[in-house]
Symmetry: C2
Subunit: 303 residues, 2 copies
């Protein structure tokens, strides 16, 4: 399973980076290969200063070895070995009219000291963070998510949409990071799903990513915008940074377990602002966005 | 003691904000009074878009009531009442030639349910974060810190300078946030220092702040700088944000115990950049700064 899934994400990384380069038309992804002293490594690809994409990364990694102490206490297990691989991406477009997107698909195995698998699971998801809200874009993104889910289980979309709203939440601001999507974790074999069935589900979501995101980029990338709208985007990006550095388990985990810092923090936007006690004008587009972030919306009629 | 110290920080806030306004010559501090539903409140003063100061806050607060659960487990105590007050400041100048400064002086009391004080202590410090290093400025700042310390105990400067280097450290980057200063905490009555003696020490440091910082501002505020130097400052400010959101106990505490978010996050700079895998040119001024941050310097001959 681990070889199969790693081959999948290697191929998916190629697909995603070449499609995004095609859309950008100017910038190319820069590739950095890195190795982890305790075992494994990764292939980081970062795009900067494009026509469409200001900064973004599409990274894969595969790490293994003894489970670090901090992770032992996190997972509440003893001295075991582990294997983890995944694809992680964050794309920050230049225009405030084009949403930021994040996605991740990952697979984890734990072994006893004889090398027998004692636990294994998939996790991942994809979610959208607009600066100006076009409702039809939110509906499109969620529709693609739902279609991918529905092929595997009719309850997945509702469950994982809800978990996404709960997870990507800036509790200190009482607002969501964005307008959600899917989030799932600890997808293990049980009465209803075998590991191969989870593999089929997770890769279905991975395969849906470009369809979920790129039509929105194409539709919005040439819209005009003002300096004030760009400032708003940079202020909202501050909230993105706050989530990733204060709340995001994946980021904190990486920072505290000696991960490759530049691959982890590629998720941070290029230009960010913090303005003291900023509030958008009443009844503005900016205030409408905040309203939606404070009260997550059901974008799709779940009937 | 609590009234006495609160009066002191109220007065110190006035002194500091009027001196900084005088230096800036354009922007004025905006004052926000706030109350905490569980007891207490604060007086936040923020300056933005000045001639000299791009963004900064000089805040006092006084909070009391039952100790929140998260703080009970942090301090490893049961269901007690508490009182805490302090002054916290962060000043981000516009010019990359002028360092950012942070300072904090605070007092804490805990009571049993009969209202008897069961514990009390002072904490605080002040530290400097330059973007371009002028060694004489570092020596000046540390000399003022040492003079304040030496009046009370000849070992304080060495001890609290070292603790400052250890505390304001971005462990995920293997570098200090800045060039240090003083950091002390849990200053309690013992064989050598009574609480009134600690009061005298902490207020001595508080009184030294303007002398430690403002001559540096005056000396550097009119130096010319380039766009590239400003970009470097914004990239380094990213490290400041990383420290405050990932490592700083005070910030995380405030965010997780329902503090006033805008007063806490006034510490974040106005304009910040993250560039993937950025490295300064070999032998540049920028690289020299990094060297110093990786290997804390003894700025003063401690003999």
């Amino acid at each position: 399973m681990k070889e199969k899934f790693y081959n999948y994400i290697e191929h998916l990384q190629d697909q995603i980076t070449s499609k995004l380069e095609e859309i950008d038309g100017k910038a190319k992804f820069k590739e950095d290969l890195w190795t982890r002293s305790e075992g494994g490594g990764g292939r980081t690809r970062v795009i900067q200063n494009g026509n469409v994409f200001e900064k973004g990364g599409v990274n894969i990694s595969k790490v293994h070895g003894p489970l670090p102490k901090t992770m032992q206490s996190y997972f509440n297990v003893g001295d075991v070995d582990f294997f983890a691989c995944g694809l992680s991406l964050v794309i920050h477009p230049k225009s405030p009219m084009v949403p930021t997107v994040h996605a991740n698909w990952r697979y984890f195995e734990m072994y006893d000291k004889e090398g027998t698998i004692v636990d294994q699971w998939f996790g991942g998801g994809q979610d959208l963070t607009p600066y100006y809200l076009f409702e039809e874009d939110a509906v499109h993104f969620h529709s693609v998510c739902k279609t991918a889910c529905d092929k595997h289980n009719k309850t997945f979309y509702d469950d994982y949409k809800k978990r996404c709203d709960e997870y990507f939440y800036n509790s200190h601001r009482d607002e969501a990071r964005g307008i959600g999507g899917l989030f799932f974790d600890y997808c293990k074999a049980d009465d209803t799903m075998t590991m191969p069935q989870w593999y089929a589900f997770v890769t279905e979501v991975g395969d849906s990513f470009l369809e979920a995101y790129t039509p929105i980029v194409e539709k919005r990338k040439n819209l005009p915008y003002t300096k004030a709208q760009r400032d708003w985007q940079e202020i909202r990006r501050g909230r993105y940074v706050e989530f990733n550095l204060v709340h995001d388990k994946g980021t904190l985990f990486g920072l505290k377990t000696n991960g490759r810092i530049e691959s982890i923090l590629m998720s941070l936007p290029a230009h960010v602002q913090w303005v003291y006690d900023h509030h958008p004008a009443p009844n503005s587009k900016e205030e409408q966005l905040i309203e939606v972030l404070k009260n997550p919306v059901e974008w799709i009629d779940s009937a």
